[in-house]
């Protein structure tokens, strides 16, 4: 007899179940969408919140970290919306198209909906309600995963952005999705976005999360067409729990770069599920996490080389002070026919205190025989030899350390192609460094 041992539901798990039962009739979308939600909800019911014995969540034990599940956010009132007017300030120096989401709901009045040839923008809630064919074709289909955070997002998705960039379109300026949650009361939001970048199109997409004490579960599905060029940057700041899933399917001969930045963020889990579905694609997956206090930032990747002749480079760096924890888990899977794959992963953590902890776990699963794959991970303190060299030239200790940390971060941020975004992230890093005691 098979007995599945399953501990009793936690308070948070019970609350999530009843939140879904209460909301299912109100959540946008009927028919296929409702079925998608039901399936996802059953997946959650079967496994509960992921915990430390689930390999992918080993270092971010969601069951332990999520003692309670906050109620689903109510539509924001006028004053809450007004408070979000200047959201996304991290990139205020950059000419970009802002789309603002307050407490999980699209705020068109705060957003820049100016039309550009080949670009269409809408809200997920509306698209689900009217069974928009783009949404029907892609939502929940970009990357099949059993991940429970994704399942919860699918079950409870309320609103988000739906963007289509038509074939051959070159966007003039970055699109900036800004998610902000107010601190009035504890609340949860489940946002889901879909961005379809068609063949040969070129776009820079930025996603920023600025939350105050909320529980936010966001997911973004990116469908990248053949020969498209997509740069995607995600930033996390603020308090509360923030889980973000990136699900991407990338076509042939595409250029695809992602960068995950976290500074002054309390508890962040970024998970990326990427599939190279066509040959000859180049991808750069990177990130910088700056942590102090009890901050916890987890970057977990699953990269599937499902086609031959693709190149991927993963470069992640973390700077940790006080009692902060950083996690990097990078899994590269090379499918049997994905010959000539060239995949390299490097993760480095710089520890500024004795009590900070960095967990680095690179993994390779290779089923093809003609590939070049490698990974490396380092964790350590500032090099005393470098610090002495700088000090011997007259640079005081604190300034020498700041310069070395800045260099450590800068080497990765430099990879960002868009100059304004790159500089804004460098400035945000310096601001974080400047607050160092």
């Amino acid at each position: 007899m098979n007995v599945e041992l399953r501990t009793a539901k936690t308070e948070a798990e019970q609350a999530l179940s009843s939140a879904y039962q209460d909301a299912r009739e109100r959540l946008p979308g009927r028919g296929d969408v409702a079925e998608l939600r039901e399936d996802a909800f059953r997946r959650f019911e079967a496994s509960g919140l992921p915990h430390r014995r689930v390999e992918e969540w080993k270092y971010t034990d969601l069951r332990a970290l999520m003692r309670t599940a906050y109620p689903l956010a109510a539509p924001p009132d006028a004053s809450t919306r007004a408070g979000a007017r200047d959201a996304g300030a991290i990139f205020s120096s950059v000419d970009r198209q802002r789309l603002i989401f307050v407490d999980g709901a699209f705020a068109p009045d705060l957003s820049d909906l100016s039309a550009e040839q080949g670009l269409s923008i809408g809200s997920l809630a509306e698209a689900l309600a009217k069974s928009d064919p783009l949404v029907t074709a892609h939502v929940g289909k970009t990357f099949a995963t059993d991940d429970v955070a994704v399942a919860l997002n699918t079950a409870l998705m309320g609103d988000g952005a739906v963007i289509r960039i038509a074939a051959g379109t070159v966007l003039r300026r970055p699109i900036h999705l800004i998610f902000t949650a107010s601190s009035e009361r504890p609340q949860a939001s489940y946002v889901r976005s879909l961005i379809v970048i068609e063949k040969g199109a070129k776009a820079t997409i930025v996603e920023s999360h600025e939350h105050a004490g909320a529980q936010v579960n966001s997911a973004l599905e990116l469908v990248v067409g053949d020969g498209a060029h997509v740069d995607y940057i995600k930033t996390a700041q603020g308090s509360g729990l923030q889980i973000s899933s990136l699900l991407a399917s990338i076509g042939a001969r595409a250029t695809f770069n992602t960068f995950a930045f976290a500074a002054g963020a309390e508890l962040v889990r970024n998970q990326a599920f990427l599939r190279f579905a066509g040959e000859g694609t180049n991808a750069g997956i990177g990130g910088v996490s700056l942590l102090r206090g009890k901050d916890h930032v987890d970057n977990t990747l699953l990269i599937e080389h499902a086609a031959a002749h693709c190149q991927s480079r993963e470069r992640f760096r973390a700077v940790l002070d006080d009692e902060a924890h950083s996690v990097f888990q990078g899994k590269i899977v090379v499918k049997p026919h994905a010959q000539k794959t060239d995949a390299k992963m490097l993760t480095r953590a710089l520890l500024l205190s004795e009590t900070a902890e960095a967990y680095n776990k690179p993994e390779l699963e290779i089923f093809a025989d003609d590939v070049v794959c490698g990974h490396g991970a380092t964790a350590g303190a500032l090099d005393p030899g470098l610090k002495f060299y700088l000090m011997a030239r007259g640079i005081p200790a604190a300034e020498a350390e700041a310069l070395l940390i800045q260099a450590f971060i800068g080497e990765t941020i430099e990879e960002i192609a868009h100059e304004g975004l790159r500089e804004a992230l460098m400035i945000a890093s310096l601001k974080w460094l400047g607050a160092r005691k």
Binding site: F388, M391, I395, A407
Partner: protein
Amino acid sequence: MSMLEIKNLHVEVDGKKILNGLSLTIEKGQVAAIMGPNGSGKSTLAYVLAGKADYKVTEGDVLLDGQSILELSPDERAAKGVFLAFQYPVEVPGVATMTFLRTALNAQRKTRGEGEFSTPEFMKLVRETSAKLGISQEHLRRPVNVGFSGGEKKRNEIMQMAILQPRLAVLDETDSGLDIDALKVVSDGVNRLRSPERSMIVITHYQRLLNYIVPDVVHVLAKGRVVKTGGKELALELEAKGYAEFVGEAA
């Protein structure tokens, strides 16, 4: 007053005694060569002067312009005019050479209560100095020493010295790893910096460098102290006879 007075200096590294009652005086404007066999404490002396951690002074003192510098941090010593040209200059990834130079120069000036260099002034200084040492603009844009050859790293050290204009320069085996052409460029760079206001300690294992940087005085170091002092001809004598005499004597 002498520029530098080292009095009965005893130094330990990892509990191992390296300097053993070293005494030495360097006059203002003097170029002093320090020669000696491997393990005699030459590099230790260089590091102790620059203030490297893990070098424990158990006895004695080091006076710069009559004041002890042993309690000063490396950056404070640098601001007082101490400069160490490293035997093995480190690579500093991510820090552009220009940024590094400007940060160092302005930090020193700030500590001394002087105003910062303006950007055009600074650029002009670096351009002129680097050109004389055959350092390209491309090298200045690159991170400090990253991907530089051994000779390029040594030239970079001398460029830093020329820009920072120290009062006491310690050159630790600046000749090691240099071919004859590079040796000449580096030596010319050093010689241009000779001045009645500046003292130099040239540490070397071989006499060869001293053909180019002609010292006023030569000190021989063995087993952590000065065992012989003489004129520049002492270097030639050592080249001919080797260090056996001193190693044997001290053993």
